[in-house]
């Protein structure tokens, strides 16, 4: 694989182009071209693709896209170009497992192949959702970490300092970021699983300075946690991201390459998202030097990932990478329904069935498009992890009919999703037990309905 400094150099030596020209003369036409070249087409009905000729074509199209369009660096206004050989070598040498955590909790997340029914996927729960209160923050993390099936957590963010939200890039943000990390480790410690990894490092940081500051070892993060590095809009690799790559790569930390291709944005529709999402995983390894990928395609207007074309595209990108590269990946589901609603559970089940059978690991969903504060309700995440583990015993062909039954239960609600609950509305603040009987009842009912559809979800 070409070395890291060489990758950085490509951002200085590639062809000079404006961002608009990069999109309109390179990415957009090339994407259309590779989609046509490989005959990639969504039939507007399927949720879980089982046609592996199509799967492999998506991978080939993604390789061609990167080889022919390149990535774009806005700081230097240059296209980062890579030859097909360089790309294919990087794919062949991509990590196929990432080791996280310490002590008893030290384990490997593996890249999975579609239709593997005899392994146990990695189980990741949580989300970088904003919390309003330090106690709620610690309780949320403690509770999520205490579920024995959980292998890693994403922790929420808490951004206020002395009752006021820290402004982005202010010195207070640096302090708030450090606080987030310290409180998160404290919550994990209280769960009795101190070595459990946090793999959405670092949720409260909006800039490299805050991220680096909070990485100082005394604050509780370690290289065996995971640090997310994002692409800036489609195919764009900014200097801030490359600064993070330079740092986290040098301390030998797990890097989670992260991408959010947008349905309806430059990537266009289902086919464009499938190819672009796959391309991001290729770039995540080659450019970001990731050990795992956070795959988060979403809808540009609805801000969620549970529409039919999106679930199809996300699952397909998992299968394409699972069959052709083996890079470990989790998918970050943005769901419409609020916490504790039936809609939310149905969306999650449909998404989970599609992605886990297609080679993804288990990652519980972000409710209400993740913009509702305090909306991480840990027992939702336990239930969703259980659904994920149940889905892992099925093949894609077995998952598809269940997905087709689930989709009508929420499809029409995506434009106006059901409102959900907050942590405070579900738990007793002292015992951290569920005190909202409706919350428990809804979950039990959905578990029964899923069994009726052919997905038995055992309680963990």
């Amino acid at each position: 694989m070409i070395d890291l400094i060489e990758v950085f150099d490509r951002a200085e030596t590639g062809p000079l182009t404006s961002e608009t020209d990069y999109y309109m003369k390179r990415y957009v036409p090339k994407l259309a071209e590779v989609i046509a070249r490989y005959g990639i087409k969504w039939d507007k009905q399927t949720i879980v693709n089982t046609d592996d000729e199509l799967t492999d074509n998506v991978f080939s199209a993604a390789v061609d896209l990167l080889a022919e369009a390149g990535a774009y660096c806005p700081e230097t206004n240059r296209v980062m170009e890579f030859t097909r050989d360089e790309i294919l070598t990087a794919c062949a040498q991509a990590p196929t497992s990432a080791t996280f955590g310490e002590g008893r909790e030290r384990k490997a997340m593996r890249g999975r192949r579609p239709d593997t029914t005899d392994d146990r996927p990695w189980v990741h729960v949580g989300g970088g959702i904003y919390t309003t209160d330090e106690q709620v923050f610690v309780d949320t993390v403690e509770k999520m970490a205490s579920f024995s099936i959980v292998d890693s957590v994403s922790v929420p963010s808490i951004l206020h300092i002395r009752g006021k939200d820290a402004r982005v890039r202010s010195p207070q943000e640096v302090l708030a970021t450090i606080k987030t990390v310290r409180l998160a480790r404290e919550g994990i410690l209280r769960s009795g699983r101190v070595g459990l990894p946090i793999i959405n490092g670092i949720s409260a940081a909006s800039q490299p300075a805050s991220m680096f500051a909070a990485t100082y070892p005394d604050f509780g993060l370690r290289p065996s946690d995971g640090f997310l590095i994002d692409f800036l809009s489609e195919m764009v690799v900014g200097y801030e991201a490359l600064q993070k790559v330079a740092f986290y790569n040098t301390i030998g930390a797990n890097i989670g390459s992260t991408s959010t291709p947008l349905f309806g944005g430059y990537a266009g529709g289902a086919e464009g998202v499938a190819v672009t999402a796959t391309c991001y995983m290729i770039m995540g390894n080659l450019i970001m030097r990731g050990t795992y990928h956070y795959n988060a395609p979403l809808h540009s207007k609805l801000h969620l990932s549970s529409t039919k074309p999106l679930i199809w595209a996300i699952a397909l990108s998992n299968a394409a990478v699972g069959r052709n590269m083996g890079y470990p990946m989790v998918n970050l589901p943005y769901l419409g329904g609020g916490s504790g609603t039936k809609q939310y559970h149905y969306e999650m089940a449909c998404y989970m069935l599609a992605v886990v059978t297609s080679g993804g690991n288990v990652f519980s969903g972000h409710p209400a498009m993740a913009v509702q504060p305090d909306s991480l309700v840990p027992d939702d995440h336990r239930f969703h992890a259980e659904i994920g583990l149940a889905a892992a015993r099925l093949t894609r062909a077995e998952a598809e009919p269940i997905c087709q039954k689930l989709f009508p239960l929420f499809g029409d609600k995506l434009k106006e999703p059901d409102k959900g609950l907050t942590f405070q509305e579900v738990y007793d603040p002292r015992t951290k037990r569920i005190v909202n009987a409706d919350y428990q009842r809804v979950m039990d009912e959905v578990r029964e309905e899923l069994a009726g559809m052919g997905l038995e979800v055992p309680v963990s």
Binding site: L159, S206, G264, G265, G268, V371
Partner: protein, 222 residues
């Protein structure tokens, strides 16, 4: 060919997002003596309306929207000097200064907004992302803007919208511009709380809002 034919052709060339055809049809219309303003108002803009609707219904996506906007801009480069030569008024509906507030790097929603504003006939100054509050104000003064539009996606950058509104107040400029806010982290209540003139949940609705605000602006000036 009758007038209607040429307008239909202009409109269709925009819907087809075909820059060459747009330019050729504009030339043809001008050669036939059609007034440059009419080329815009009765030919190109109705085409862009259709494009906006298609985008809203997900029949087309961002690349097609951009292609149509680029074709429109090329046509405007030809038409604007003609309008000025004949001493005509600028064809724009209003002037909008747009940006994502300080500290916020989210650009996608704002870019969609810019395209829809442009394709609806507004003149837009896009200040980009991470925009300093004085940049909003200075640019608004410089171009005599009707509207300042600010996007914010993070809970921690929302405050940047309030900062601009407060600064306008402190400088005695608050009544001079209509201020609209939006973006993932915003809500209608927030917009009211900080004293913005309007809020919209999507770019499509932001265009309707802009029309309302510019109308109100004209009304209050009268």
């Amino acid at each position: 060919m009758g007038d209607d034919g040429i307008f239909e052709e202009l409109k269709q060339s925009v819907i087809d997002q075909d820059e060459e055809k747009v330019l050729a049809t504009v030339d043809k219309a001008l050669a036939a003596g059609v007034d440059a303003r009419k080329v815009i108002d009765d030919g190109l803009l109705p085409g862009l309306d259709v494009i906006g609707e298609q985008f809203e219904c997900e029949e087309i996506f961002l690349p097609e929207l951009m292609q149509a906007a680029l074709a429109f801009q090329s046509a405007m480069a030809v038409l604007e000097p003609k309008i000025r030569e004949s001493g005509g008024e600028g064809p724009k509906k209003g002037r909008i200064v747009l940006g994502t507030v300080k500290g916020d790097l989210h650009s996608i929603g704002k870019n969609i907004l810019r395209l829809l504003f442009e394709t609806s006939g507004y003149e837009v100054w896009d200040l980009g992302i991470d925009v300093d509050l004085f940049k909003f104000i200075d640019k608004a003064k410089e171009v005599d803007a009707d509207i300042i539009a600010m996007s914010a996606l993070l809970t921690t950058t929302l405050i940047g919208q309030k900062d601009v509104i407060d600064a306008l107040g402190e400088q005695g400029l608050r009544d001079k511009y209509r201020v609209m806010v939006g973006g993932g982290a915003t809500t209608e209540e927030w917009a009211q709380k900080i004293g913005a003139d309007g809020w919209a949940p999507s770019a499509y609705e932001a265009v309707t809002l802009a029309a309302r605000l510019v109308g109100a602006q004209a009304g209050s000036a009268a």
